[in-house]
Symmetry: C2
Subunit: 79 residues, 2 copies
C-alpha cells in the first residue's frame, strides 16, 4: 500500500464516486497491490525472512510504499 | 485477485524474474489489487453486506476476478 503521507489519486477517485453510486459512509479509500506467492516446502522462519527480503527489495517500492507479509494456508490439501 | 483460470502475465513475469534475483523456491506468483476502505461507524453485518455489494459491483470485475472482504481494526485508538 502507498504510505499514508503519499497521495493516492486512484483511491480518491473511487471514494468520490461511491456516494454517486449509492454507497455512503466510506470515509477513505486507498488502493494498493497484492501479491500471492506460492512457496515450495515449509513456510518457516527462514522462508518468511527470505520473502520479506524479496518484498522489500523487489515487489514493493519502499520509498513510497509500505508492505506486510501474511501467511495463508492453501485450503486444498495434498499441495 | 484474478481467478485461477485467468492468465496473469504480471505475476508470471515476477515469478520468472525471481531466480535471476537470487530468490528460489517460489512456485507461483499472482498479482492483484487491494482496497482499504475506512468505514464511518461500526462495521456490523449490515455494513459488511454493503461493502460486499460495493466490492462485487464496483471494485472487482467479477467476470475475471475473485474478491474477499476482510475486517481489520485500526491500530490507533480514538479514530
Amino acid at each position: 500500500m502507498l504510505k499514508p503521507e503519499i497521495l493516492d489519486p486512484q483511491g480518491q477517485a473511487v471514494q468520490r464516486a461511491l456516494p454517486r453510486l449509492g454507497f455512503e459512509g466510506i470515509s477513505d479509500v486507498r488502493q494498493g497491490k497484492r501479491f500471492e506467492l506460492e512457496v515450495d516446502g515449509p513456510v518457516d522462519e527462514a522462508a518468511l525472512a527470505r520473502i520479506n527480503d524479496l518484498a522489500e527489495s523487489f515487489l514493493a517500492n519502499t520509498v513510497i510504499e509500505d508492505f506486510t507479509v501474511r501467511v495463508e494456508e492453501v485450503a486444498e490439501a495434498a499441495k
